[in-house]
Protein backbone atom coordinates (compact mmCIF):
# COMPACT_ATOMS: atom_id res chain seq x y z
CA UNK A 1 0.00 0.00 0.00
CA UNK A 2 1.58 3.32 -1.03
CA UNK A 3 0.84 5.12 2.23
CA UNK A 4 2.38 8.50 1.40
CA UNK A 5 0.43 8.70 -1.87
CA UNK A 6 -2.84 7.71 -0.15
CA UNK A 7 -2.33 10.34 2.55
CA UNK A 8 -1.48 12.95 -0.07
CA UNK A 9 -4.50 12.03 -2.14
CA UNK A 10 -6.76 12.30 0.93
CA UNK A 11 -5.38 15.78 1.59
CA UNK A 12 -6.09 16.76 -2.03
CA UNK A 13 -9.67 15.44 -1.78
CA UNK A 14 -10.23 17.37 1.48
CA UNK A 15 -8.85 20.52 -0.14
CA UNK A 16 -11.16 20.21 -3.15
CA UNK A 17 -14.20 19.32 -1.02
CA UNK A 18 -13.57 22.38 1.12
CA UNK A 19 -13.63 24.53 -2.03
CA UNK A 20 -16.69 22.64 -3.29
CA UNK A 21 -16.44 20.67 -6.51
CA UNK A 22 -19.21 22.75 -8.08
CA UNK A 23 -17.05 25.84 -7.57
CA UNK A 24 -14.00 24.05 -8.94
CA UNK A 25 -15.96 23.04 -12.06
CA UNK A 26 -17.33 26.56 -12.45
CA UNK A 27 -13.87 28.13 -12.19
CA UNK A 28 -12.34 25.68 -14.67
CA UNK A 29 -15.22 26.17 -17.08
CA UNK A 30 -14.91 29.96 -16.98
CA UNK A 31 -11.14 29.75 -17.57
CA UNK A 32 -11.69 27.32 -20.43
CA UNK A 33 -14.19 29.71 -21.98
CA UNK A 34 -11.73 32.59 -21.58
CA UNK A 35 -8.91 30.51 -23.09
CA UNK A 36 -10.98 29.37 -26.08
CA UNK A 37 -11.99 32.95 -26.79
CA UNK A 38 -8.52 34.49 -26.40
CA UNK A 39 -6.35 31.75 -27.87
CA UNK A 40 -8.56 31.60 -30.97
CA UNK A 41 -7.57 35.22 -31.66
CA UNK A 42 -3.84 34.44 -31.77
CA UNK A 43 -2.78 34.33 -35.45
CA UNK A 44 -1.45 30.93 -36.49
CA UNK A 45 -2.88 29.15 -33.45
CA UNK A 46 -5.22 26.22 -34.09
CA UNK A 47 -7.38 24.82 -31.27
CA UNK A 48 -8.45 21.15 -31.42
CA UNK A 49 -11.88 20.08 -30.24
CA UNK A 50 -15.07 22.08 -29.80
CA UNK A 51 -14.75 25.85 -29.53
CA UNK A 52 -17.36 26.08 -26.79
CA UNK A 53 -17.17 24.76 -23.24
CA UNK A 54 -19.97 22.20 -23.64
CA UNK A 55 -18.44 18.71 -23.78
CA UNK A 56 -15.08 20.08 -22.68
CA UNK A 57 -13.11 19.85 -19.48
CA UNK A 58 -10.43 22.31 -18.39
CA UNK A 59 -7.85 21.40 -21.02
CA UNK A 60 -7.19 23.01 -24.39
CA UNK A 61 -4.93 21.39 -26.99
CA UNK A 62 -3.52 23.46 -29.80
CA UNK A 63 -0.76 23.89 -32.36
CA UNK A 64 1.04 26.99 -33.55
CA UNK A 65 2.14 27.37 -37.18
CA UNK A 66 5.91 27.21 -37.54
CA UNK A 67 6.60 26.23 -33.93
CA UNK A 68 6.73 22.56 -32.92
CA UNK A 69 4.82 21.81 -29.72
CA UNK A 70 7.99 20.80 -27.83
CA UNK A 71 9.73 24.00 -28.77
CA UNK A 72 6.67 25.98 -27.83
CA UNK A 73 6.47 24.29 -24.41
CA UNK A 74 10.18 24.88 -23.78
CA UNK A 75 10.00 28.56 -24.69
CA UNK A 76 6.87 29.10 -22.58
CA UNK A 77 8.46 27.22 -19.70
CA UNK A 78 11.34 29.68 -19.76
CA UNK A 79 8.71 32.38 -19.23
CA UNK A 80 7.07 30.53 -16.33
CA UNK A 81 4.11 29.03 -18.24
CA UNK A 82 3.96 25.24 -17.96
CA UNK A 83 2.34 23.35 -20.86
CA UNK A 84 2.27 19.71 -21.74
CA UNK A 85 3.47 18.85 -25.24
CA UNK A 86 3.37 15.68 -27.29
CA UNK A 87 0.65 13.08 -27.70
CA UNK A 88 -0.93 13.30 -24.21
CA UNK A 89 -1.41 9.50 -24.26
CA UNK A 90 -3.61 9.93 -27.36
CA UNK A 91 -1.28 8.73 -30.10
CA UNK A 92 -4.02 7.24 -32.37
CA UNK A 93 -5.95 10.53 -32.30
CA UNK A 94 -2.84 12.52 -33.26
CA UNK A 95 -2.22 10.08 -36.12
CA UNK A 96 -5.82 10.49 -37.24
CA UNK A 97 -5.49 14.28 -37.13
CA UNK A 98 -2.13 14.07 -38.92
CA UNK A 99 -0.33 15.94 -36.15
CA UNK A 100 3.20 15.15 -34.91
CA UNK A 101 2.36 16.69 -31.52
CA UNK A 102 0.15 19.26 -29.87
CA UNK A 103 0.63 21.60 -26.92
CA UNK A 104 -1.92 21.43 -24.13
CA UNK A 105 -2.83 23.93 -21.46
CA UNK A 106 -4.78 22.74 -18.43
CA UNK A 107 -6.53 24.87 -15.86
CA UNK A 108 -7.28 24.38 -12.21
CA UNK A 109 -8.33 26.30 -9.12
CA UNK A 110 -5.00 28.08 -8.78
CA UNK A 111 -5.04 29.51 -12.32
CA UNK A 112 -6.34 32.91 -13.33
CA UNK A 113 -7.34 34.65 -16.55
CA UNK A 114 -3.98 36.46 -16.26
CA UNK A 115 -2.21 33.11 -16.72
CA UNK A 116 -4.03 32.64 -20.01
CA UNK A 117 -3.01 36.15 -21.10
CA UNK A 118 0.60 35.19 -20.32
CA UNK A 119 0.14 32.01 -22.33
CA UNK A 120 -1.19 33.94 -25.34
CA UNK A 121 1.65 36.47 -25.10
CA UNK A 122 4.19 33.64 -24.79
CA UNK A 123 2.86 32.02 -27.96
CA UNK A 124 3.44 35.28 -29.83
CA UNK A 125 6.98 35.48 -28.38
CA UNK A 126 7.70 31.91 -29.53
CA UNK A 127 6.50 32.77 -33.04
CA UNK A 128 8.91 35.70 -33.09
CA UNK A 129 11.82 33.43 -32.08
CA UNK A 130 11.13 31.16 -35.02
CA UNK A 131 10.29 33.89 -37.49
CA UNK A 132 13.72 35.39 -36.81
CA UNK A 133 15.42 32.14 -37.86
Amino acid sequence: MPVAEAVGWAAAVRYLEKLGMEHVAEHESSLTEYALEHLAKVPGLTIYGPLETANRVGVVSFTVDGVHAHDLATILDQGGVALRSGHHCAHPLHDKLGLPATARASFSVYNTAGDIDRLAAGVCDAQKVFQAA
Binding site: H68, H70, D71, Q78, H87, P100, V129, F130, A132, A133
Partner: protein, 124 residues
Protein backbone atom coordinates in the same frame (compact mmCIF):
# COMPACT_ATOMS: atom_id res chain seq x y z
CA UNK B 1 19.43 30.03 -20.53
CA UNK B 2 18.22 30.31 -24.08
CA UNK B 3 17.92 26.93 -25.76
CA UNK B 4 17.12 28.52 -29.07
CA UNK B 5 20.52 29.91 -29.87
CA UNK B 6 21.03 31.38 -33.28
CA UNK B 7 22.92 28.43 -34.71
CA UNK B 8 20.29 25.90 -33.55
CA UNK B 9 17.54 27.99 -35.14
CA UNK B 10 19.61 28.42 -38.27
CA UNK B 11 20.13 24.66 -38.66
CA UNK B 12 16.40 24.13 -38.06
CA UNK B 13 15.34 26.73 -40.62
CA UNK B 14 18.06 25.81 -43.15
CA UNK B 15 18.90 22.15 -42.58
CA UNK B 16 22.19 21.02 -44.15
CA UNK B 17 22.37 17.74 -46.05
CA UNK B 18 18.60 17.28 -45.86
CA UNK B 19 17.07 14.74 -48.21
CA UNK B 20 16.94 11.06 -49.02
CA UNK B 21 19.88 9.15 -50.38
CA UNK B 22 18.97 6.35 -52.79
CA UNK B 23 20.95 3.13 -52.32
CA UNK B 24 22.63 4.32 -49.16
CA UNK B 25 25.26 2.04 -47.68
CA UNK B 26 23.79 2.61 -44.24
CA UNK B 27 20.30 3.75 -43.42
CA UNK B 28 18.24 3.79 -40.27
CA UNK B 29 15.10 5.49 -39.00
CA UNK B 30 14.90 6.29 -35.33
CA UNK B 31 11.70 7.58 -33.76
CA UNK B 32 10.74 8.82 -30.36
CA UNK B 33 7.18 7.52 -29.98
CA UNK B 34 6.57 9.67 -26.92
CA UNK B 35 7.09 12.95 -28.73
CA UNK B 36 6.58 11.88 -32.35
CA UNK B 37 9.99 13.01 -33.60
CA UNK B 38 11.53 10.92 -36.35
CA UNK B 39 14.92 11.01 -38.05
CA UNK B 40 16.30 8.87 -40.87
CA UNK B 41 20.06 8.86 -41.42
CA UNK B 42 21.59 7.87 -44.77
CA UNK B 43 25.31 7.27 -45.26
CA UNK B 44 27.41 6.49 -48.28
CA UNK B 45 30.87 5.25 -47.45
CA UNK B 46 33.94 5.27 -49.69
CA UNK B 47 37.26 3.86 -48.52
CA UNK B 48 36.16 4.04 -44.90
CA UNK B 49 35.16 7.70 -45.18
CA UNK B 50 31.66 9.19 -44.96
CA UNK B 51 31.28 10.38 -48.53
CA UNK B 52 27.68 11.50 -48.13
CA UNK B 53 25.66 12.03 -44.98
CA UNK B 54 22.02 12.92 -45.43
CA UNK B 55 18.98 12.93 -43.25
CA UNK B 56 15.23 13.31 -43.42
CA UNK B 57 12.71 13.59 -40.64
CA UNK B 58 10.20 15.63 -38.80
CA UNK B 59 10.23 16.98 -35.33
CA UNK B 60 11.12 19.81 -33.05
CA UNK B 61 13.86 22.36 -33.63
CA UNK B 62 16.29 20.57 -31.31
CA UNK B 63 16.02 17.15 -32.99
CA UNK B 64 16.20 18.56 -36.53
CA UNK B 65 19.06 20.95 -35.76
CA UNK B 66 21.00 18.11 -34.11
CA UNK B 67 20.68 15.97 -37.26
CA UNK B 68 21.79 18.86 -39.47
CA UNK B 69 24.77 19.66 -37.25
CA UNK B 70 25.75 16.00 -37.15
CA UNK B 71 25.60 15.74 -40.95
CA UNK B 72 27.78 18.80 -41.35
CA UNK B 73 30.21 17.68 -38.69
CA UNK B 74 30.71 14.12 -39.96
CA UNK B 75 30.69 14.49 -43.74
CA UNK B 76 34.14 13.51 -45.07
CA UNK B 77 35.15 12.12 -41.70
CA UNK B 78 36.07 8.49 -41.20
CA UNK B 79 33.31 5.99 -40.54
CA UNK B 80 35.15 5.05 -37.35
CA UNK B 81 34.96 8.64 -36.14
CA UNK B 82 31.27 8.84 -37.01
CA UNK B 83 30.54 5.60 -35.21
CA UNK B 84 32.45 6.73 -32.13
CA UNK B 85 30.78 10.15 -31.89
CA UNK B 86 29.56 10.48 -28.30
CA UNK B 87 26.44 11.91 -26.70
CA UNK B 88 28.61 14.50 -25.02
CA UNK B 89 30.10 15.57 -28.34
CA UNK B 90 26.58 15.94 -29.72
CA UNK B 91 25.60 18.14 -26.79
CA UNK B 92 28.78 20.17 -27.18
CA UNK B 93 28.01 20.70 -30.86
CA UNK B 94 24.50 21.89 -30.00
CA UNK B 95 26.08 24.19 -27.44
CA UNK B 96 23.10 24.11 -25.12
CA UNK B 97 22.22 22.41 -21.87
CA UNK B 98 19.18 20.19 -22.33
CA UNK B 99 16.70 18.97 -19.72
CA UNK B 100 16.27 15.16 -19.50
CA UNK B 101 13.14 15.31 -21.69
CA UNK B 102 14.67 17.52 -24.35
CA UNK B 103 17.92 15.53 -24.26
CA UNK B 104 16.06 12.74 -26.10
CA UNK B 105 15.35 15.23 -28.91
CA UNK B 106 19.01 16.28 -28.99
CA UNK B 107 20.26 12.69 -29.16
CA UNK B 108 17.75 11.21 -31.62
CA UNK B 109 20.00 11.71 -34.66
CA UNK B 110 23.13 10.29 -33.03
CA UNK B 111 21.10 7.30 -31.91
CA UNK B 112 19.88 6.77 -35.50
CA UNK B 113 23.45 7.12 -36.77
CA UNK B 114 24.77 4.50 -34.35
CA UNK B 115 22.07 2.02 -35.30
CA UNK B 116 22.58 2.69 -39.01
CA UNK B 117 26.27 1.84 -38.67
CA UNK B 118 25.70 -1.12 -36.35
CA UNK B 119 22.84 -2.71 -38.25
CA UNK B 120 24.24 -2.09 -41.70
CA UNK B 121 21.94 -1.62 -44.65
CA UNK B 122 18.62 -1.70 -42.84
CA UNK B 123 15.41 -0.18 -44.05
CA UNK B 124 13.08 0.29 -41.13
Amino acid sequence: MNLYREHVLDHYANPRHFGELANADFQHTEANPVCGDEVTIYLNIQNGVVDEFRFTGKGCAISMAAASILAERLTRRSLAEAAAFTDQQMQDELGISLSPTRLKCGLLAISALRKAVKLGKVIS
